[in-house]
């Protein structure tokens, strides 16, 4: 009896198609001769580099999937988590801190580091949630402000601690290999790439979030609050609690993304600069493309990562790699219209009641 609704899938696919077509036009304008091979590189991109290419896609996809899941989850519960970047940065900081300061932990050091990353991200999200729940401050405003607070907090703390700070390069110190997230043989399969078990963690988290949302009592409450606050109050659901839990979880997931990214042994360091990391915002794009469905977000995250990886190879054809950013932006732009598109489609199949 139960029918699956394919309209969101179709609208996301349409957005992707539109993005690729326009992307191709841009390639044509920039460099007509090499547009076709350039475009093929985007499409075939990572595959032209064999397993290493695929490994890279998985590596890029890890933070995208996690941040996307975070934003999508919050969105399903009626909240807009635009503070993913701050939470990501706090997570990164927590992980780096444990990674540098807690060598005594031995083999579980990276586990503890990721847990701390979750906790810091969660606190960051939780503050936003609590402000919304108890003082009715819009979460968009507080989470944007928290992005900056996190940024300067992290900069200040790292710079102020000689154990963390590498003054020569104005960034955090190198983390020892024992503290890195293990690759667990993935580096053997996808030799040459930086992929590690982060991707597995990301996929598992997305699946867990899916199960929470769809199958559990807890998810029922969270979503009910997101859909209709009055009805959930009527049902006896504690709305404030739901908002706070929801933001804590969203924050923890972004924190985890940050933790994994900075414990990956790819030479990523927390640089002391006044720029907010883009990952949290990328999460919004991924969530949009995946219509806030955690399972779909796994795929949209992989897809965006795939394009990003393809973008690097585009440079072989004298294109600047920013073109891929434009294409991604167009795709996101169109999927932001996905609601509109969905409506048009469903109108055509005359099911768009109210």
């Amino acid at each position: 009896m139960k029918k699956i609704n394919f309209t969101p899938l179709i609208s996301s696919l349409l957005a992707i198609l539109a993005g690729l077509v326009i992307g191709f036009l841009i390639l044509l304008i920039c460099n007509t001769k090499e547009a076709v091979p350039g475009f093929l590189t985007i499409i075939m991109g990572p595959f032209t580099h064999g397993l290493e290419g695929i490994g890279d896609v998985l590596y890029y996809a890890t933070p995208l999937i996690l941040c996307g899941t975070s934003v999508g989850f919050a969105f399903r519960t009626g909240l807009f988590n635009i503070g993913g970047s701050g939470q990501y940065l706090m997570g990164a900081f927590g992980a780096v801190y444990v990674g540098l300061m807690c060598e005594f932990l031995g083999p579980v050091q990276w586990v503890v580091a990721l847990i701390v990353a979750c906790i810091l991200g969660g606190i960051c999200g939780g503050i936003t949630g609590a402000l919304k729940a108890y003082f009715n401050v819009n979460e968009v405003i507080t989470s944007i402000m928290l992005n900056y607070i996190s940024l300067y907090f992290v900069n200040m703390t790292i710079r102020g601690n000689a154990m963390l700070f590498n003054p020569a390069r104005n960034e955090s110190r190198n983390i020892k290999e024992v503290a890195e997230v293990p690759q667990l043989g993935l580096d053997k399969i996808f030799s040459g790439s930086a992929v590690n078990i982060g991707i597995i963690i990301a996929i598992v988290v997305a699946i867990i979030i899916y199960i929470i949302l769809e199958k559990t009592v807890f998810g029922y409450e969270l979503k009910a609050c997101g859909f209709n606050k009055n009805a959930s109050r009527y049902a006896g659901i504690n709305e404030n609690k739901s908002i706070i839990y929801s933001m804590i979880i969203a924050g923890a997931i972004c924190g985890l993304a940050g933790g994994i990214a900075y414990l990956s042994g790819t030479g990523k360091h927390i640089e002391i600069k006044d720029v907010i990391p883009a990952e949290g915002f990328n999460g919004i794009s991924v969530a949009l493309l995946g219509v806030s469905n955690p399972i779909a977000i796994i795929f949209s995250g992989l897809f965006i990562a795939y394009l990003t990886a393809g973008g690097f190879y585009l440079q072989l054809f004298h294109f600047s790699k920013e073109i891929i950013d434009i294409i991604i932006a167009i795709i996101i732009y169109f999927s932001a219209f996905s609601l509109l598109v969905t409506n048009i489609i469903s109108r055509k199949s005359k099911k768009g009641k109210e």
Binding site: A231, R233, K351, G352, K353, E354
Partner: protein
């Protein structure tokens, strides 16, 4: 121009999945006529009107407007053809003013700046022509439903629509407002407008409509002249059997006090007087106590105070001897209190959830419906199936149907069914039959009496005197937040009751 019909819909068929919502429906609306549409909940009335207004597209059939075949692809096209619609559930922007809502979508602008003065003048003219007493600068969220409806009507008139569709306009109005609305309809007709009008209330149809088309299960049963038919005939055509709106009930045998309210006071907005003042009353098991009164006299706030949705300023509420004045909503819900709320979309349903999920809205976490934190889908579906069968809830996709895609009456039935089925000792029902067809009303009334006979205490708030007279064992009148009268329905005189409701007479009651 030549046609005598403003609208002709011919052989309209539309399916939602397997459900045929309109099946070969033909409807003709003469110019200057009021044409009523009657049918059970889910018969397809709203769907048919949505097709005319361009919200849905028929699978088959044709529409002629003023004799010309038209393809109404969306509401903008409908608007151009002079068709306007007031929906069953209003579509106003809550934090806009009346004026802003009216001009929304056809703003008058000059160099990108909104120009309100011309619009304001035109609207003032229209509203004085029809005697609409409305404050154009009030925000929608602060005005009564009656006023919201006038806003919707003004919206149509402002757009110079000549063909007006009203989908259950009176379901949300008080008897007084209904009378005024009937006058408005007559005036509109006198102006030469052609009107399609959906209602479940046969009185109204008899009063204003010229013709009536009756739908059942998506098919046209008949189109009749309203003059030639009695109310009984109409309802029989609609439901397919005889309906009796008179409830048979034995005399009540009240038992212990279940709900005891003492000196309850609920504050109004800042700077306003209290909404509920010093109300004391008892409701015993096995009796139906009705609160009668004109909408807006504190009934909503009183109920919200009892159900925990609004803060109490002072006073006490006891349920089965337990002080629940400050208890959580959840505590009240658990086996004690059932509540059919006034506003089904705002409070009663999560519209984006399926029927099944809505049916367990207060019980989803209960042992019966969940196992170690996971929802027990099978149990929930079984329970839903049972309620849907018992209350004849119709939808296109069974238990999985998203409530938003259901007819208004069927949405109401979900709430009523849910609240009546879940364990409780006290039933607080506000307008439980709002928007239901006569057959369904008959059934719900029977159920309420059944609850009473099972020993449940029932507190009913209704703006419809007929319902009050039919069901009540005791009538209390609420006026300006106070209980001003207490009556026995067997002996009360309706005129007398009216005087109390209007505040011109009052009794001094310690405890009602």
């Amino acid at each position: 121009m030549g046609s005598e019909y403003a609208i002709e819909m011919k052989h309209i068929t539309i399916k939602f999945g397997n459900l045929v919502a309109n099946d070969d429906v033909t409807l003709q609306l003469k110019k200057g006529e009021i044409h009523a549409l009657l049918g059970e909940n889910g018969a397809g009335k709203s769907t048919l009107m949505s097709i005319l207004f361009g919200l849905y597209h028929a699978d088959k059939g044709e529409i002629y407007v003023n004799g010309v075949k038209e393809n109404i692809t969306d509401p903008l096209v409908a608007n151009k053809l002079g068709i306007g619609m007031v929906h069953q559930h209003f579509k106003l922007v809550e934090n806009f003013t009346v004026l802003e809502n009216i001009i929304l979508g056809c703003e008058d602008e000059k160099m990108g700046l909104l120009r309100m003065d011309k619009a304001r003048k035109k609207i003032t003219e229209i509203s004085s022509k029809y005697n609409f007493d409305i404050d154009l600068d009030a925000k929608i969220e602060n005005i009564t439903v009656g006023m919201q409806q006038r806003t919707e009507i003004l919206k149509m008139l402002y757009r110079d629509n000549n063909i007006l569709i009203f989908d259950e306009p009176t379901a949300v109005l008080t008897p007084n407002e209904i009378d005024e609305f009937m006058e408005i309809l007559k005036n509109l007709k006198a102006e030469g407008k052609s009107i399609l009008f959906i209602s479940h209330k046969l009185d109204e149809i008899k009063k204003v409509a010229d013709k009536c088309t009756i739908l059942r299960l998506g098919k046209v049963v008949n189109t009749v002249n309203c003059e030639d038919c009695t109310k009984e005939q109409l309802s029989e055509m609609m439901v397919g059997r005889k309906v009796s709106l008179k409830v048979d009930k034995k005399p009540a045998t009240p038992g212990d006090v279940v709900l005891k309210v003492r000196n309850l006071t609920i504050a109004g907005e800042k700077g306003h007087k209290d909404k509920v003042e010093n109300v004391s009353l008892d409701v015993r098991s096995g009796e139906i106590v009705c609160i009668a009164g004109i909408d807006g006299n504190g009934q909503s706030e009183f109920v919200k105070g009892l159900t925990g949705l609004m803060k109490v300023k002072s006073g006490k509420v006891y349920l089965c001897d337990e002080d629940i004045t400050y208890a959580t909503v959840r505590h009240r819900n658990m086996g004690l209190m059932s509540h059919i709320p006034e506003d089904r979309h705002r409070d009663g349903l999560v519209l984006d959830y399926s029927v099944a999920k809505n049916v367990v809205l207060q019980q989803y976490f209960d042992k019966e419906f969940s196992k170690s934190g996971f929802l027990d889908k099978n149990e929930i579906l079984k329970y839903t199936h049972q309620i849907m069968k018992e209350y004849d809830i119709r939808s296109s996709n069974g238990e999985y149907t998203i409530c938003r895609a259901m007819s208004g009456g069927n949405q109401q039935k979900i709430i009523t069914g849910r609240e009546m089925t879940k364990p409780h000792k006290l039933m607080i029902a506000v307008q439980p039959t709002r928007g239901l067809d006569v057959g369904a009303i008959e059934y719900i009334h029977k159920k309420i009496v059944e609850l009473r006979d099972r020993g449940i205490a029932v507190l009913l708030v209704s703006f419809e005197l007929e319902e009050v007279m039919n069901l009540a064992d005791k009538i209390l009148v609420m006026y300006e937040g106070q209980i001003v009268g207490k009556f026995d329905p067997k002996t009360v005189d309706l005129n007398e009751l009216g005087l109390y409701m209007a505040g011109s007479k009052r009794m001094n009651l310690e405890v009602a």
